[in-house]
């Protein structure tokens, strides 16, 4: 009654598989971790994936210098610890770091402005890879350029390592506001928009029709509390990344669980009030307004 499938006909790395992987993360929280213990805490708390790093963005920011892909030993240590997907960061444009991460068995690559960019002209050609990529964006043009290059997930850039949510909010407003404004535009006007925002016309038309991005859209950069996560969800994101916000807080286990639960019940203030109790001090953070533009990570990327 059953037939063996022809293994030759198995198709890997298709757009459907890449975007499909990202869809499985919806409604979830991806947490930055720097070792096996933290990875275990994240998984126990109900994270949908972990981001394997050597240093969380707050420490990268504090220490300065060139930030690169993590040591493979670190990434393997974390892959071996958890059953949930493991993501890892490559520098903007550094396609060889991405090749290495793919071979190591990372499930998704974050081409991230948190690391020091490697190419002053181009981002990675993500269509060349079998595994999906997530990329940051501040506005619709940037999001569509990344999708054109093959990104299977977009996240707001926010301002990583600050614990200040204002930039993630700004970027989500910018993306959604522009998408809403496309609704009533004529073909000619959509073409004009594609020139203005430096994005492919076909993607502009697709977004105008869908009234959302064609890939999953997460929030990232400065999310530090359950209320921050729920706020981003109410603004229409599909899930959240929490970087320094968990392991720079006083009680990481509580904070991790509370942010997961707040992301699920983002529109129920009673649940949000319950899970926000007793989470201890969130990360101290830095006010983004105190960071000069040239020190802001969000301005990396083209």
């Amino acid at each position: 009654m059953t037939r063996e499938i022809d293994l030759e006909k198995m198709r890997h790395g298709t757009e459907l598989l890449k975007r499909g992987f990202a869809r499985m993360q919806k409604g979830g929280v991806v947490m930055d971790v720097t070792n096996a213990d933290q990875a275990h805490i994240a998984e126990e708390a109900g994270a949908v994936a972990v981001m394997a790093l050597e240093r969380v963005p707050a420490d990268i920011r504090a220490q300065g210098g060139v930030a690169r892909m993590a040591d493979p030993t670190k990434i393997i240590e974390i892959i071996d610890t958890v059953s949930i997907p493991v993501m890892a960061k490559a520098r903007i444009g550094h396609f060889v770091e991405a090749q290495i991460l793919q071979v190591l068995g990372a499930d998704m690559i974050d081409e991230s402005e948190v690391l020091t960019p490697a190419d002053p002209h181009f981002h990675i050609d993500k269509r060349e890879f079998q595994i999906p990529f997530v990329c940051g964006a501040r506005n619709l043009g940037e999001a569509l350029r990344r999708i054109h290059e093959g990104a299977a997930m977009i996240r707001t850039k926010g301002e990583a390592g600050t614990g200040d949510v204002i930039e993630a909010v700004r970027h989500q407003h910018a993306i959604m506001g522009m998408i809403r404004s496309l609704k009533s535009k004529s073909d000619q006007e959509l073409f004009q928009v594609s020139r203005d925002i430096e994005a492919p016309y076909d993607l502009v038309v697709e977004v105008a029709q869908l009234q959302r991005l064609p890939v999953v859209n997460f929030a990232a950069g400065g999310i530090a509390t359950p209320a921050d996560a729920a706020m981003m969800m109410q603004m229409g994101v599909d899930g959240v990344f929490v970087g320094s916000g968990i392991f720079k807080s006083k009680k990481p286990e509580f904070m991790a669980k509370a942010i997961v639960e707040a992301t699920t019940h983002f529109d129920d203030p009673e649940v949000l009030a319950k899970v926000s109790r007793g989470i201890g001090d969130p990360m101290a953070g830095i006010n983004v307004a105190d960071i000069p533009p040239e020190k802001q990570l969000q301005n990396r990327g083209w």
């Binding site: 890997h12 790395g13 598989l17 499909g20 499985m24 499930d107 595994i131 699920t264």
Partner: protein, 198 residues
């Protein structure tokens, strides 16, 4: 039943995709029905059947317990209401899991006499699409994303599709488990198997 009302468990995962696929299937197959997002025990009171979506089984399992949906689902199953689980949902329906399920202390619902291996193919680069043969449907586009496999069944479980020696689609009474993602394919034929259980 006049209108089939299906609740998609919306704690985490590709819930919207399931709702869209169900709506499309109702239309294509000429079935009167509606699909709704359910997150609270209260939401479950009016539904005739349930979908456990794809997502992360560890996460969904923890949230099922935390938000008291586990017992509601078990009760519905015992009343003979149809339940469909895809990918992570398939894992949760099983009685037994592999070492990964044990290690992450994922609490399975245990509704089907089968054991599953979570993430049986390896990391995302091993995810694949392939045409599979489904009993009663013929060829069907299988989308396997960090997919589980059903390694063993017992009792009166019907095996509906296999890849080599492993099972990717199985049915037991009112419960249907797919290790792949029919909700991502746009091919509504799969839902005949689910709708005929109502």
């Amino acid at each position: 039943m006049d209108t089939i009302r299906v609740g998609v468990i919306g704690l985490q995962g590709d819930v919207e995709e399931h709702i869209h696929a169900l709506e499309k299937a109702f239309k294509h197959l000429g079935v009167k029905g509606e699909a709704i997002w359910v997150r609270r025990p209260l939401d479950m009171e009016t539904v005739h059947g349930v979908v456990l979506p794809g997502g992360e089984s560890t996460t969904i399992s923890k949230l099922l317990t935390k938000f008291q949906l586990r017992d509601v689902i078990l009760k519905m199953a015992s009343e003979g209401k149809p339940i469909l689980g895809t990918c992570a949902g398939c894992v949760l329906l099983a009685k037994e899991g592999d070492e990964l399920v044990e290690r992450t202390r994922t609490e399975l619902l245990g509704l089907m006499d089968m054991s599953v291996d979570r993430n049986a193919f390896g990391p995302q680069r091993e995810s694949f699409e392939a045409d599979i043969h489904v009993e009663g449907l013929g060829n069907y586009p299988g989308v396997f994303i960090r997919a589980p496999l059903i390694k063993k069944t017992w009792g009166d479980v019907e095996v509906l599709s296999k890849i080599d020696d492993d099972i990717v689609l199985a049915k037991q009474g009112n419960i249907l488990a797919a290790s792949f993602h029919p909700e991502l394919t746009g091919d509504s034929r799969f839902y005949r198997l689910f709708f005929e259980m109502f």
